[in-house]
């Protein structure tokens, strides 16, 4: 289960809506519960918008520069947080995990997809790709007011 704090969520939605009709992307920082009641539960407390580095049209593609991801990871470590997920948007398209998403994913993080329709956030889903990038399991996603 991955849960997104309201402030982080506002950042993600604002970034996705601002980049519409292009895809946006970013990193999610937070913690994975090791407490007694939240073991394994992911809690996103900060969202970091990252520049979409895809060289072509960005209406349906995104790419994260590894350097930017490394920077996000450093920022997380400095704040005592962990890099636990990646988010990106699907403009005028449902929040599913596309073939392109799967083939360019990695199995270590939660992948949250935000569907933005007509410039407004519509719905979201989270996915956990397998190590061979052949399938992605849907993960329970909790965002504010969901």
């Amino acid at each position: 289960m991955i849960k997104i704090d309201p402030h982080a969520w506002d950042t993600m939605v604002a970034h996705a809506e601002a980049k519409y009709p292009n895809e946006c992307c970013g990193a999610m920082l937070g913690s994975i519960g090791i407490g007694r009641i939240d073991d394994g539960q992911k809690l996103v407390s900060q969202a970091v918008p990252i520049e979409n580095a895809y060289a072509g049209a960005q209406g349906a593609r995104y790419e994260l520069r590894p350097e930017d991801l490394l920077e996000a990871d450093r920022r997380a470590r400095a704040a005592g947080l962990d890099l636990i997920g990646i988010f990106h948007s699907h403009p005028d398209c449902d929040a599913y995990f596309s073939k392109t998403d799967l083939e360019n994913s990695c199995p270590w993080y939660s992948f949250v997809v935000l569907s933005v329709k007509g410039g407004k956030f519509d719905h979201a889903a989270s996915f956990l790709p397998n190590p061979d990038q052949t399938a992605a399991e849907k993960e329970e996603l909790i965002w504010p007011k969901s």
Binding site: K3, I34, I37, I50, Y62, A79, G80, P107, W108
Partner: protein
Amino acid sequence: MAKVLIPTPLRQFAGKSDSVQADGSTVGEVLSSLTSQFPDLRKQLFNDEGKMRSFVNVYLNDEDIRYLQKDSTPVGSGDTVSIVPSIAGGAVAEKGVAEQTGHAAAPPVSLSKDEILRYSRHLIMPEVGMEGQMKLKNAKILLVGTGGLGAPLGLYLSAAGIGRIGLVDFDVVDFTNLQRQVIHGTKDVGRKKLDSAAESMHDINPNVEIDLYDLALTSENALEICAKYDIIIDGTDNFPTRYLVNDACVLLKKPNVYGSIFRFEGQASVFAFPGGPCYRCLYPEPPPPGLVPSCAEGGVLGILPGLIGIVQATEAVKLILGNGEPLVGRLLLYDALAMRFRELKLRRNPECPVCGDHPTITQLIDYQQFCGVNIQDEPPAAGSKESEIEPQEVKHKLEHGDRFLLLDVREPHEYLICNIPGAKLIPLGELPKRVNELDTAIDIVVHCKSGMRSAKACDFLRQAGFKKVRNMRGGILAWSDKVDPSVPKY
């Protein structure tokens, strides 16, 4: 030798460390020494052919090794090797070309400025900090009861910044509550406890979301309500609810933070915690009805629930933070008169019917029946019309000078609060040895505070051979309501 930073999801394969020192003079050697230290990590980074997985990038300090000398890139002891995945994707449908305008936005904060100020005394402690405060904000606690224990719980948990608190209560504030239920004030008498409690909590901390359940927790609704919360705190004063909350927590695998109070003594523990005991391991069966008096019958030092409620609140906050040693497998006993804390060790009972190895209770049962409370609902246990008498009729008999004995079986300190003139006082506990003071020939009317103890006294007297015994229905409280309003109620 270099330091390798381990991404969060891979730490489980690297001895839970966020960084590891690995030997080697090149990046390739460092990685191979890392993966021989942690063989499980190898599968994450390399495929079956031993080739690095397509999404894995390796950085030496700030440089991608692909642009240096790849695996042969030399490393020194001050160097840091990072493992960074490459990630891309996109929706399938192609869209029109749009200009790339990306830039990194200002880092968002996880608590508002006001909240940071409000919780600053938490935030400056590393045991809480931003992370802990966020955990508190994301936590959901159900408080069963907003009375003596619920009052300090509601106030302190709101102040501490718990994100969502559910309150269960169907009662109304009355004057006898104010001696200990500090979440309610004199102005609240007659209001629903839920409304009064929620108002106080919101006044302390408007950030808390409060769910109100204007009902009694029952076998029908308990699972549904408890399932919405992370921790259940039992602040009730009756056995059926105590067993109900315990069983619901065991079935839902949620911690039950227990507290109870009586006169000058209190208890607290954390039940239904994984591996720990539950309330039934401690008390497999409820006491016979009437044996353990409630606070309404036995009284309670007003300050006592404050202390026990705060022990419960402390345990709830510790569970959320994942810090410290929880009160699991330990029953804390507090004696206010001696001002002494003691601890009893508790073990999970493998034979426990609900949390044992072979549970026989797998769903909620009828707890009123289990605790034998149904029979007790009507105060006169041996209640039949002939064995009871209304207060008005007693007044009539007194005014008419009828020959009968009015017997008060309350305690002397209660008699001093108020009494019915002419009544003879023999406390229930002294009745057996003082029964010879009574005359079997004359009518006897027995009363107490509300009719419970006098019913027991009537039973005893009948068994002792007294035939003409009647119980005054509703006790001196009913006398105050129906006969003489100048008699104070307590």
